[in-house]
Symmetry: C2
Subunit: 332 residues, 2 copies
C-alpha cells in the first residue's frame, strides 16, 4: 500500500505539502504541485479515508437502519437518502434489522463505534426503547415511520387529510356504502389519523354506512384470509378503503378468487403506492406518498443538523397524491 509518505519521498517534498495539494487546503507553488501530482498519478496513490477520518473527526458516514429492504417504499426512501447524500459526499452504512429489536440495538452500537455522523430509522415500527437508545447516541437522527414519535425529527404526510380526500373521491364517484379495512387492533397514531379522515368524509357527506374490518397483521396473507370474510359481506357496500396497499391487494386477490369483481362489484383503494399496485389487475387506485422525496428531504434535514443547524426540529409534512387507476368504478 502506498501512503502519503511514499508520495512525499518520491516528490521530494514534505508530507504536509502532499496533504495540501490533495486537499487544496493551502497555497502550493505550481512547480511543486505539478511534481506531487505527477507522483500521485504514477503511483496511483489514494488517500486513506480511515486515517483522514481519525484526525478530522469526520466519517461522512450515515447509518440507515431499515426494517425490511425488500419493501419497495423502503428502497425508494433509501434511494432519496443516498442520492442527496452523494451530492454532499456522505455515504450510507446500510443495516437491515427485520424488525428485531436486538439487531436494531446491535446496529445502533455499531454505527456509533463506526463514528456515523447521523442516523435514519426507516420502518413502520420501532420500539420506544430503541428510540431511546438512538437518542442517547446524541447524533442527528431522523425517524421515517408511519407512527409519529415525540422528541424525534419526523417526516410524513398528513394521513388524515389523505384519507379524507380519498374517501371523498369515492363518494364523488357515487359510492354511498364504504367499508374500511384497518391493519392492527392496537392502533398506531397514524392509523387513527387515517380512520379519522375516512370517518370525517363519511360524516361530512351525511352518509350512514361505515363498516370496519381489522386484519390483525400486515402480511399480505392475513389480508387475503380476511378478504374471504369481507367477500361474504360484499353486497353490503360498494367500496372498501384499505389502510395500506398490501392489505388492498390481499383483499383484491381474495375477491378475485371468490368471484367478486373489482371494480364492477366492489371498488378497492389503498395507501402507499407500492410498486405491486401497478402490476395487479385492475391497477390499484391508491394514495401516493412521495417516498423518494421523503428520503431526500430527510437527508437534507440531517445534513443541516450535522452542520450544526438546530432549527429543523419536529414534524415535516410532505404532500400526498391520489393515484387514480382502475380499481374504482364510477357509479351511476
Amino acid at each position: 500500500m502506498i501512503t502519503i509518505k511514499d508520495v512525499a519521498r518520491l516528490a521530494e517534498v514534505s508530507i504536509s505539502t502532499v496533504s495540501r495539494v490533495i486537499n487544496d487546503s493551502k497555497p502550493v507553488s505550481p512547480e511543486v504541485r505539478r511534481r506531487v501530482l505527477k507522483v500521485i498519478e504514477e503511483t496511483g496513490y489514494k488517500p486513506n479515508d480511515v486515517a483522514r477520518s481519525l484526525v478530522t473527526r469526520r466519517s461522512y458516514l450515515i447509518g440507515v437502519i431499515v426494517n425490511n429492504l425488500a419493501q419497495s417504499y423502503v428502497a425508494d426512501i433509501v434511494r432519496g437518502i443516498e442520492e442527496i447524500g452523494k451530492m454532499y459526499g456522505y455515504d450510507i452504512l446500510l443495516c437491515s434489522s427485520y424488525s428485531s429489536k436486538e439487531t436494531q440495538e446491535k446496529y445502533l452500537q455499531l454505527l456509533d463505534r463506526k463514528q456515523a455522523e447521523g442516523l435514519f430509522l426507516v420502518g413502520n415500527k420501532f420500539d420506544d426503547e430503541i428510540i431511546e437508545i438512538a437518542r442517547g447516541l446524541n447524533k442527528p437522527c431522523i425517524y421515517f415511520t408511519r407512527d409519529v414519535h415525540e422528541h424525534m425529527n419526523h417526516i410524513s404526510i398528513d394521513s388524515n387529510a389523505a384519507f379524507y380526500e380519498m374517501t371523498n373521491y369515492l363518494i364523488k364517484e357515487g359510492h354511498k356504502k364504504i367499508a374500511y379495512v384497518s391493519d392492527f387492533a392496537d392502533r398506531t397514531s397514524v392509523e387513527n389519523d387515517k380512520i379519522a379522515g375516512y370517518q370525517k368524509a363519511i360524516e361530512d357527506n351525511e352518509l350512514q354506512y361505515s363498516k370496519m374490518y381489522v386484519v390483525g397483521g400486515n402480511k399480505h396473507n392475513r389480508a387475503y384470509e380476511l378478504g374471504k370474510t369481507i367477500a361474504k359481506d360484499a353486497s353490503e357496500f360498494t367500496a372498501v378503503v384499505c389502510s395500506n396497499d398490501e392489505i388492498a391487494i390481499g383483499v383484491m386477490n381474495s375477491f378475485f378468487d371468490n368471484g367478486i369483481k373489482v371494480p364492477d362489484d366492489v371498488s378497492v383503494v389503498g395507501f402507499g403506492n407500492i410498486r405491486e399496485g401497478k402490476f395487479v389487475r385492475p391497477e390499484l387506485t391508491t394514495i401516493g406518498e412521495p417516498y423518494y422525496d421523503v428520503g431526500a428531504v430527510g437527508m437534507r434535514m440531517l445534513i443541516k443538523m450535522i452542520k450544526g443547524d438546530k432549527t429543523p426540529q419536529g414534524l415535516m409534512e410532505l404532500p400526498f397524491t391520489i393515484e387514480k387507476r382502475k380499481s374504482v368504478k364510477t357509479i351511476g
Copy 2:
C-alpha cells in the same frame, strides 16, 4: 467524547490494559479487569472503530454496488450478503449506481479510499471498463449478474438447464406450440443459454413450432407494448416462455387488456420469481433463482477470500426451482 485514555486514567491503569480487556486479547488480572469494566460501564465508553481500523488495517466494510435497489431480487441478494456479513462482523457500504458508469467508478474509488475489504457488484450489466477498474483495486470481488464475465468470481444458476426444464414442463402439460419472448436484440451469454435450453426442449420432443419475439428493452412497458403484437398472434401458440418475470407480467397484462385469457387461451411463464409474480392474477409460474442464497453464498466466498483463501475462483452454480403457480394450463 470519551476515549481509551480517559478510561485508563479513571481506572488507574495503562491504556494497554484497557485495550486488553476491551479486546480480550491478553490475560488481565480479575481485579484490574473488574475496575476497567466498571469505568467503561460508568462512562459509557465505546471504542472508536476508526482508530482501531487504522492500526489493525481492518475495516470490516464490504462495498456493495447495485444498479437498482428497487428491484426485488437485488434487495434479496443484499439481504443474503448482509445477514452472512453480520455473522462474521462485516458491515455493508451500500452504493446504488442506477447503471451509471460514472457513478460506478466514483463509488469504486470511494470504496477503495474507505478501505473496504471486499466488493460486490450486483446487477444485470456492468461495463467491461468498470470490471477492469474493480479488478485494479486488487480486492476480493464477487460479481452477481446474469451476464457472465471471465476473470471474475461469479455466482449464478444454470439458465440453460432451467429453461430446458421449464419448457419440458409446458410440453408435459400438453403444450405443443410454444413461443419465446427474449429481452434484447444484442443478446448476453445468459440470454443465449436460456434460448438454447428452450430450443433443446423443443427439439428433444420433436416439436416443430417455435416462434421468437424480442422486446428490445427490459422495462415492463416495452413488454406491454410488444404484448399487443403477440396478442394478435395468440391463436398460433398455447404457451409463451419469457426471458424474465418483468417481461412475463408485461405480456400478461397486455393479454388481459386485449381480451386474451391467461392461462385459458395462452399460458405464460417467466424467470426470476420476483415478488410481483405472486401479486398478479393469475399468479405467475416461473423459474426461481435463490437470490437470498446467491447473496449468502457469495458473502461466504468473499469472506474466505478476504481471509486469504485463493481457491474459490470462477463460477459457482446454485440450484433453481420451478415455481408452479396459476399461469399455466394443462391441455387435454
